[in-house]
């Protein structure tokens, strides 16, 4: 128990340090030109470091994460897996609700609040996502997105150990959420220090399984997986910040090329 506690507080200190580090850096990045994921600029001044962490993550994935996720997938029947995902999502709905409010998205806040009540009461503590069928679909929101909605630029691209692709802005979001998650705070204060850790680990395994298709695809098809993950992550985050709406006037241009030759002979 004590060792678990110690680890938790270590995690918190690490998150705090990360947050403090990220804040001013994200601020610095404001000075630069805001880049879109569509631009050729990869927004990756720390690429050397990032590639090292990426390499480390690949090894960790090969040795531990993927095997664990595979066991998780094999042992748990599909409905149980879905229920675990539903449960984890329900646990995070207070945070989603808070972020929707912070973003001024009243519709979204209504959606998140309704989901939490409906699934907690009618979905047996969140094990079943009955709200989805009632017109309240799951929407993923986090504090990184909120910062984006507030106009904070993404800051340099970052690869976090184990957690993977991120940015200064999104890492800041992760740090802030680590401290403000009501479920974790409640658990900690009541002496259930194992709750945040177990929850974090399960969320990680679930996420690894959720992204399995994409990860396998990139590994099969890419000639520079690092660059492809970076591009996927940045485009995805930009889309999440817009809640899936298409960018106003900021979509990629698909010009007609004057110099495109005819299809070469095969």
């Amino acid at each position: 128990m004590t060792s678990l506690r110690t680890r938790t507080s270590f995690g918190r200190v690490a998150a705090l340090v990360l947050t403090l580090l990220a804040m001013p850096l994200a601020g610095c990045a404001t000075a630069g030109r805001e880049t879109t994921a569509a631009a050729d600029d990869a927004n990756d001044p720390l690429e050397g470091l990032n590639r090292t962490v990426y390499g480390f993550n690949q090894i960790a994935d090969f040795l531990i994460i993927n095997p664990a996720a595979e066991i998780y997938r094999t042992v748990l029947p599909d409905p149980v897996e879905r229920s675990v995902r539903n449960f984890l999502r329900n646990l995070s709905s207070p945070l989603v609700l808070a972020n929707q409010l912070l973003q001024g998205d009243w519709e979204g806040a209504k959606n998140a609040g309704s989901r939490f009540v409906i699934n907690t009461v009618g979905g047996v503590g969140g094990l079943f996502d009955v709200a989805d069928g009632m017109g309240y679909p799951y929407q993923h929101e986090d504090f990184g997105q909120t910062l984006g909605v507030w106009g904070l630029p993404e800051g340099a691209y970052l690869v976090l150990p184990i957690l993977g692709p991120s940015s200064l802005r999104d890492a800041t979001g992760i740090g802030v959420e680590w401290f403000s998650d009501p479920v974790n705070i409640l658990a900690e204060n009541n002496g259930y220090g194992w709750v945040p850790i177990t929850r974090g680990a399960t969320t990680g395994l679930d996420a690894r399984n959720e992204y399995r298709g994409v990860i396998d695809d990139v590994r099969r098809n890419s000639i520079d997986p690092y660059a492809q993950f970076r591009s996927l992550y940045r485009q995805r985050r930009a889309s999440e910040i817009r809640d899936g709406r298409s960018a106003p006037g900021g979509t990629t241009e698909f010009p007609e090329f004057e110099d495109t030759p005819a299809t070469p002979a095969r």
Binding site: A37, A38, D40, A42, D78, E107, G108, N111, G135, P137, G213, D217, R220, N221, S222, I223, D224, Y226, A227, Q228, R230, S231, L232, Q235, R236, S239, G244, S246, T251, T252, F254, E256, F257, D259, T260, P261, A262, T263, P264, R266
Partner: protein, 211 residues
């Protein structure tokens, strides 16, 4: 919210197709034609992929033929090289286009096969949700692909109309553009290779040899 929005779009599209007065227009026509183009393309692709008693090589050959017909592969290849196209010598451009076309067809075929369930009819598998005009020549056809055992995936097809000849020039999965991703990746390979297009060609050659 999004679901309702999509439903509204679908309903609008249906109404536009049936009841729009001719004056109401070209863009609705273009949208309907684009939607039909994607629907047909999806139907044919799934038809090929789900054939019984046909060798895998034959299926692959037919699928490639459909891709070449429905997608502007040379355009996509040119797009994903971005500004480095001008840097390449004519020979490099030639070689690049040959290599990249193979790669693009491979990747699109791979992805399509991953998403398309083996035993579902196309009208269950690929749902057209709506269309919107993008500039003078392009139509974005929004669709949903519903895999057998997974949540639906939002897929937007960018269809370019050149005097009535339609071709897909980009596919965005959950708002992530395949062309943009590829362009970013190629740019990275070239930058890491000292800004030389040759570095990319080398990687592509290797990939084609391995594949």
């Amino acid at each position: 919210m999004t679901r309702r929005f999509f439903l509204a779009c679908a309903a609008l599209l249906a109404i536009a197709g049936w009841a729009a007065p001719p004056a109401l227009a070209q863009s609705a026509d273009r949208g309907a034609a684009g939607a039909k183009f994607i629907q047909d393309l999806g139907q044919r692709a799934i038809g090929v992929l789900t054939q019984q008693n046909v060798s895998r090589d034959e299926i692959r050959r037919e699928f490639r033929a459909i891709l070449q017909e429905g997608f502007d592969v040379p355009y996509i290849g040119r797009f994903v090289l971005g500004r480095y196209w001008q840097q390449a010598t004519p020979q490099q451009q030639q070689e690049y286009l040959q290599l990249v076309e193979r790669m693009i067809v491979d990747i699109y075929a791979d992805r399509f096969a991953q998403y398309a369930g083996q035993d579902l009819a196309v009208d269950q598998n690929l749902k057209i949700l709506g269309t919107r005009a993008e500039g003078e020549t392009d139509t974005i056809v929004s669709s949903q692909i519903v895999p057998a055992n997974a949540p639906p995936v939002a897929v937007d097809w960018r269809v370019r109309d050149r005097d009535g000849r339609r071709k897909v020039i980009d596919v965005a999965v959950e708002n992530v553009s395949m062309s943009v991703t590829q362009r970013n990746e190629f740019a990275s390979v070239i930058q890491r290779g000292g800004g030389q297009v040759e570095a990319l060609l080398q990687a592509l050659r290797q990939r084609v040899r391995a594949g």
